[in-house]
């Protein structure tokens, strides 16, 4: 279930999923940054305009002062000629202008060694019938500095505000979303068997409470389904095993009849064996259903290494009987664990197959360490076609009497349930199954 959703989000081409908080922060930034930029520029241009206006007014003011002064002074000295960078008065032969001309100019300055901006006012005046060109200038350097300073202060204020808002946003979001993360954690730790006991703490946020109500309803439904499936498989077991038990016990009683011939006894024994096979098949199918429905007991983890040794001991007779050479490489301190019932099935099926499909005098190689479990065996059987490797009732094209064709299907089901990758390869008459402890892309979903 978990890998499936992860796969959905991780679809190729999609963006990597981000935390909700990161996403809201990014959207907030995307929205606020242009706004701040625009308002800064607006402020800048407003200041610029205002200050320019101010300087022009000052220039006009200066001009009026000069005019007044010259009106009074020029009576006694008929010709003026004055020249400073800020002010010049030169006689010209052009006719007088009614209005002054205001413009921005760049002038070379000796101290700075470069051209600097000035605002200048020029007007051709007629004083006592002489034409003069009046030029008044004001340096704009100070104005530029002023605007620069204003700009920097604005940036600092806006930046501070931004950081403050971001922090506040983060803090608030964390606080607001806390119940959500708590519920998420609860859902992660949920177990089918103990589902009904899960309850969510009510929060002060309406949406979260709605989510909790929906989740609780869903969990109740899933638990009910789980229980009914569990009961169904158990009832099915009961209903099928009971007639088998009756038939088998009757046949066993029949065997005790001393008037029967050997041939008759043999026939009864064969029927009894067939019934036993049916019982085992039924058992295996139920087992598959149970693994699929997560109905096994997970409370008793068992070391894989221990189970392997146990089965090698139990099957020792069979190994000796077939004169098989057993080569084992069991690392002693492996921490690999599984619920006892599943470890039993996994190991007994794999080791059993390695013996069963071997030839007399063949070899079995078994290897177990912290990373993987691997078993190989010689066999006169051909390689198992990949497409029917783990399929139910597919026995590589041939049938062994005692096999029910479910062994590898069970092995595969257990591996799938645990997220353990299992691989098979065949080389030079040797079949090898390898189970890796950790899948390459995800940790085992199971914590036993």
């Amino acid at each position: 279930m978990v890998p499936a959703t992860a796969g959905l989000i991780n679809k190729p081409g999609c963006m990597r999923p981000m935390k909700l908080l990161t996403q809201t922060t990014i959207y907030f930034l995307l929205l606020v940054l242009p706004l701040l930029t625009i308002s800064t520029f607006y402020l800048f241009s407003q200041f610029n305009k205002e200050i320019g206006h101010e300087i022009d007014e000052e220039l006009l003011n200066d001009q009026i002062q000069w005019l007044r002064y010259m009106d009074t002074v020029s009576i006694h000295s008929p010709v003026f000629q004055l020249s400073t960078p800020e002010f010049s008065l030169q006689p010209v032969t052009r006719p007088a202008q009614a209005k002054p001309v205001l413009e921005s100019v760049m002038l070379y300055q000796d101290i700075e060694g470069k051209k600097t901006p000035y605002r200048q006012l020029t007007q051709v005046l007629s004083i006592h019938n002489n034409s003069y060109l009046l030029t008044i200038r004001k340096s704009l350097i100070e104005r530029d500095d002023l605007i620069k300073n204003i700009f920097i202060v604005m940036l600092i204020v806006f930046g501070g505000l931004l950081i403050f808002i971001l922090l506040l946003n983060r803090m608030l979001s964390k606080r607001l979303w806390r119940p959500f993360y708590q519920s998420l954690e609860k859902l992660h730790g949920i177990e089918l068997k103990k589902m009904e006991s899960v309850s969510f703490t009510p929060s002060s946020i309406k949406e979260f409470n709605q989510l909790h109500t929906a989740l609780t309803a869903m969990i109740t439904r899933i638990h009910a389904d789980y229980k009914s499936i569990k009961e169904l498989t158990e009832d099915a077991a009961h209903e099928m095993q009971t007639p088998l038990a009756i038939a088998e016990s009757k046949l066993e009683l029949l065997l005790q009849d001393e008037t029967l011939s050997d041939a008759q006894l043999h026939a009864i024994a064969q029927s009894s064996e067939a019934l036993e096979r049916l019982a085992r098949l039924n058992h295996s199918l139920l087992l598959l259903a149970k693994i699929e429905n997560h109905q096994y007991d997970t409370s008793q983890p068992e070391s894989l290494q221990h189970v392997t040794k146990q089965y090698l001991g139990l099957l020792d007779e069979l190994i000796k009987d077939k004169k098989l050479t057993l080569e084992t490489q069991l690392t002693h301190d492996t921490s690999w664990q599984m619920p006892a019932a599943l470890a039993d099935m996994l190991i007994s099926n794999l080791v059993g197959n390695a013996i069963r499909y071997n030839y007399t005098g063949g070899k079995i190689r078994l290897q177990l360490d912290d990373q993987q479990f691997s078993i190989s065996n010689t066999s006169s059987w051909p390689a198992i076609p990949q497409q029917q490797l783990f399929q139910r009732f597919k026995k590589g094209g041939a049938v062994l009497d005692s096999s029910n064709g479910l062994g590898l299907a069970i092995v595969k089901k257990i591996c799938d349930t645990y997220n353990l990758p299992i691989s098979y390869y065949f080389e030079n008459g040797v079949h090898t199954f390898t189970i890796s402890r950790f899948s390459t892309n995800s940790k085992p979903s199971f914590a036993a």
């Binding site: 077991a237 038990a245 009756i246 005790q256 043999h266 024994a269 019934l275 099957l315 059993g352 005692s402």
Partner: protein
């Protein structure tokens, strides 16, 4: 020895009763929960074979009742549900053994035998069969006072045969008894043959009779007749 069989399937109940009676037990039966409770309260039994799924009740409650009565009876649960929880709770409540249906009657008989031996004789009473004497406490076997050295599998075989004496025991029953579920993986039961051959040889060498009769393709019978 008195055994109570609590089983609701009449056919299975009869089969168990017949087999146990053939082995010399006095056998009573109860088909449902109320009758079982009544019998458990009114009489003393040496061993009780109880199904878990019963009409009008649960076999596990009968175990509770037995424990409340401080009964000395051995208890074997038989259940069609191959449920680990049932098994564990049954054993927790004080059952001595647990068998999943379907089972071999010879297996049930051997287990009843083992429980009775443990309960009533503290496992110290010798088992006799003609010239053979088994001391279960020390797992020692004698033929006319000559000690035998048997492997653990041969010893288990001998006990199983004597518990089911004069009955035909199938190869699968023997394999199931000696190797449990692991024998499923065998693919053949031929390996039993070598154990039986060795047991027979050791008994003969010590001066015993050959009691193991082979029934072709079927199994074996331990018989002095």
């Amino acid at each position: 020895m008195k055994v109570l069989v609590i089983e609701d399937e009449p056919a299975l109940q009869t089969a168990i009763r017949q087999y146990l009676e053939q082995q010399g037990y006095i056998c009573e039966t109860a088909p449902d929960f109320p009758q079982a409770m009544a019998k458990v309260n009114d009489y003393d039994y040496d061993c009780i074979v109880a199904d878990i799924g019963l009409p009008q009740g649960n076999g596990l409650d009968i175990i509770k009742e037995l424990k409340a009565l401080e009964s000395e009876a051995g208890i074997i649960i038989i259940s069609a549900k191959d449920s680990l929880e049932d098994k564990l709770s049954g054993l927790d409540l004080g059952a001595d053994d647990y068998l999943t249906k379907p089972f071999h009657l010879s297996e049930l008989n051997a287990r009843i035998n083992a429980i009775l031996r443990r309960k009533h004789f503290d496992g110290n009473t010798n088992i006799h069969f003609n010239e053979i004497r088994i001391a279960p406490g020390s797992k020692a076997v004698f033929v006319k006072d000559t000690p035998l050295t048997l492997t653990s599998k041969e010893y288990q075989l001998l006990l199983y045969f004597i518990a089911n004496q004069r009955r035909v025991v199938t190869k699968t029953a023997l394999a199931g008894h000696l190797w449990g579920d692991a024998y499923d993986q065998a693919g053949s039961y031929d390996f039993i043959y070598s154990h039986i051959k060795n047991l027979r040889r050791k008994l003969l060498e010590a001066g015993g009779e050959d009691y193991i009769k082979t029934i072709y393709g079927t199994g074996y019978r331990w018989s002095d007749q």
